[in-house]
Symmetry: C2
Subunit: 587 residues, 2 copies
Amino acid sequence: MKLLPRLSRVLPILGWAPLYSRDQLASDLTAAVIVTIMLIPQSLAYAMLAGLPPQVGLYASILPLVFYALFGTSRALAVGPVAVISLMTAAAVSRIAEPGTIGYVETATALAVLSGVFLIGMSALRLGFLANFLSHPVISGFITASGILIAVSQLGTIFGIKAGGHTLVEQLDGLVSQMGETNVPTLVIGALSVAFLYFVRLRLKSVLIALGMGKRLADVITKAGPVLAVTATTIAAAGLALEDKGVKIVGTVPVGLPGLQLPIPSLGLVAELGLAAALLSLIGFVESVSVAQTLAAKRRQRIDPNQELAALGAANIGSAMSGGYPVTGGFARSVVNYDAGAETPAAGAFTAVGIAVATLFLTPYLYFLPKATLAATIIVAVLSLVDFGAIRRTWIYSKGDFAAMAATILITLLSGVENGVAAGVVLSVVILLYRSSNPHTAIVGLVPGTEHFRNVNRHKVVTSPSLLTLRVDESLYFANARFLEDRIYDLVAANPALRHVVLMCPAINAIDASALESLEAINDRLKDSGVTFHLSEVKGPVMDRLKRSHFLGALTGKVYLSQYQAVLDLAPRMTKEDEALEEGAGI
Amino acid sequence: MKLLPRLSRVLPILGWAPLYSRDQLASDLTAAVIVTIMLIPQSLAYAMLAGLPPQVGLYASILPLVFYALFGTSRALAVGPVAVISLMTAAAVSRIAEPGTIGYVETATALAVLSGVFLIGMSALRLGFLANFLSHPVISGFITASGILIAVSQLGTIFGIKAGGHTLVEQLDGLVSQMGETNVPTLVIGALSVAFLYFVRLRLKSVLIALGMGKRLADVITKAGPVLAVTATTIAAAGLALEDKGVKIVGTVPVGLPGLQLPIPSLGLVAELGLAAALLSLIGFVESVSVAQTLAAKRRQRIDPNQELAALGAANIGSAMSGGYPVTGGFARSVVNYDAGAETPAAGAFTAVGIAVATLFLTPYLYFLPKATLAATIIVAVLSLVDFGAIRRTWIYSKGDFAAMAATILITLLSGVENGVAAGVVLSVVILLYRSSNPHTAIVGLVPGTEHFRNVNRHKVVTSPSLLTLRVDESLYFANARFLEDRIYDLVAANPALRHVVLMCPAINAIDASALESLEAINDRLKDSGVTFHLSEVKGPVMDRLKRSHFLGALTGKVYLSQYQAVLDLAPRMTKEDEALEEGAGI
């Protein structure tokens, strides 16, 4: 009986499937129908964004959902192709292969394999914490910039011109130089689709409800907006023979499901795609976990981030097996899945069935679908990613975070999505190092008439010229050990009358080997200057560890249980109120 | 008058030169003579270690010392070629050029230029904190492994055989396969030199003092040990015509000082050497600053790490200008300089004059110097770098730090010095992220009869099933923001009776934009689960910043000045001792 709980950590389906009820089945089926309707046009559109044939988007929306249902811990997350990952796929793959070739599709599939292996490896090594490489402002800036790049990249298709480019400058350059070639029927379809989809997104639901429709039905119809646009423009393109007027249509989409195989990328391809796969996987993971956590919290459920890594890895391997490209958990579709009542990951499996049926039977009807319609669905979808409010809020809250965000946005827009996210990672780590290397410290003195010690810069306290007490408000480890040394040497050099230095440790939860060496160095160097070094208020676990080192034996001073005892011992005059004139030794 | 203090930050010489006294001159001259005697054989030997002609070591010991005297803030630091940097130079340069060619020397000089530019750039951008990339155990492991690699690399020269290799396996392989070619006269000279130098280092001083010699003179003679070995073996090699018996000698060393020029490396070379220059500069900086701080503390002086970056950068540029190779502050020679009484950086400038004189007049006498003698001086010098005690101490103190150290040692030994230090940097950052992502937190309860709150796992405290208080003992920022979210969601999912969550913030010194978003997400998600979210004991500066965000407006609960007030408001029964039966809600 102990096996099942352990197994169900790796295969969460074992936790919920045995208890699956008829009610849950009904809820999951309803959700699956709604998500399927939403996912079909999205899959086609995001495949186009990635530079891939439309059916690849459908392939990437079948097996990944089944695998996630087996391994995932979120009950509502809907995986599949998403906008930012599609853009990153296009950037990585087009460095290696020409869009429109078989090699391009194969490279995208290889990228999914690598992404899957990377995610599963991170899960096996419990490296989920590496996602902390990415700070929120950096991610938010990256997503905003990606949204802009994606939207602008689709403008060419809306205008019926050929304009590409991986940076904003290249894109705008292409758009402006080609503007004369605009195809008017395409522009009409594209512009009408954008307008319609915006209307659907912003107003349709309230209009329908005002007209007396039930809230639930209004909701479903609203979600079906893109399907309506696809259907209407496909019929228009077929009926008016728009292809002959220069409107680009999807054309022949292969009928049937893809064959199953797992392509093993060559070592050369691994070297070329490795970094891109890692960055793309990290971004995908961070986004997916954040959606999953939001939805799980609503029902007081929990997700296991480490198991999520494995599940998303499996989903990517599944995508590659069926000729798809990198996938992750999508925000909009997961929310729809949740709102539509999905109760278990089975909803995802049912959605997969829905997409499979569509792939088998609907693809012939996609022949006349104008590409401009797909571009319109992308534009309307990604503009919700662009969050200028977050930029403003970050500016108001913290200039340092704003600088990191602005740099990420600029580098992404001007130098492309891969450099953007790489710069974001580096910036996040540099900020972390900078912050860690400057812990908060305070020189403290005695509050007269009490046994309390407070910052000399903020309070009226008593100090002594021969005794200096430094409180460090952070654990000591290698990132701030050098700072502590510098700080103490500077203080000793600036105070010739000093005889005792006390390090007050109530906020120090840990001292690592680097910091221990620094404390030893401080002790030795203070000894050379004729100053004794003491500690006070050391926490129990920290003290236990220090006892395993030679430090306490070499310490020139003592370890005091309380700072007040240290003062009684080292500078007793400080405690006598009538002599509290030494106040503020000017440190 | 305000200009001088500012200028003297950039040119510290302006701070001490105007006050230079006759006494200081005498002290500095004495120190310079002793350091010169020590530095001549070291310079020759380390140049050989770097794969360079011996005179390059002398060139690297002239201008760098002058430039450091102008810009450096340490009064006793002695810069010049050092063992580990010489080894790293050999590893980097031999990837690009063949040892023994002019191209090899030019590449080493280019490396010095890049290192200088890198260090000055770090100083200008105030990026000295990047040295925190390297934790002490990682540096210590790297130095130990480098010491072993260096010592083994010199064994071939001691045996008079040709054995190279950048990893321990390659080196041992070469030694074993060539052992049959051992040149006995070379081995005799090498072994005797090693034995003599060990005797000098460990015993000579006490022997001389026991014989009645003054301590000061005994000290100087001990420092001159390598010069004695060099002189004796040179005379032996000349007198016994050992060259004809297969003993490798230094041969012709060009007479005179090098011409001055500053070679600008090509962009291709910059790309090939850039990373190596950065790693080598970081290692050199960390070692140099640690020596400088140790010595400065003994006299209650201070050094400015940022200005040290500039000074070491200038020293490297100086080295390159005079045909030298990368330099940094050396441990042994700085201690000698200090012990010999150096009072100002002028001692370094005088040492430079000494080396220049030696370069002008002594080089002809180096013709017969056996290379095995130089190898012996290297071996005896670097074995003091190997610190097995540090490995044992780290193992006892912290298994995590030990793992990082062991990995660095193994990678350095088995894969070479560049991969070793790169792995060290990566490991340090990963450890930092891991530590940062797991801040210490505690669920706290009320100590009965008091207003104090303590960890429920360590103390007998009162809790309530409807109220959960989490204390976080660290500032909140992006590296631990996700952890906080996970922790709170897990707790909420595990405690169905929960109505209120209080985040107790007395140890939180800062909340960055990422953590703010996490707090907002926690607030929203708890709201969805019907739980209100409160803060308590928020510090003033943190509160000021929170007021600039929308968070406080959206907060479902309150911000309490004290945790006790929070309990009085949210779970007043906890404060009544007679009802203190709810103790330990099993969380």
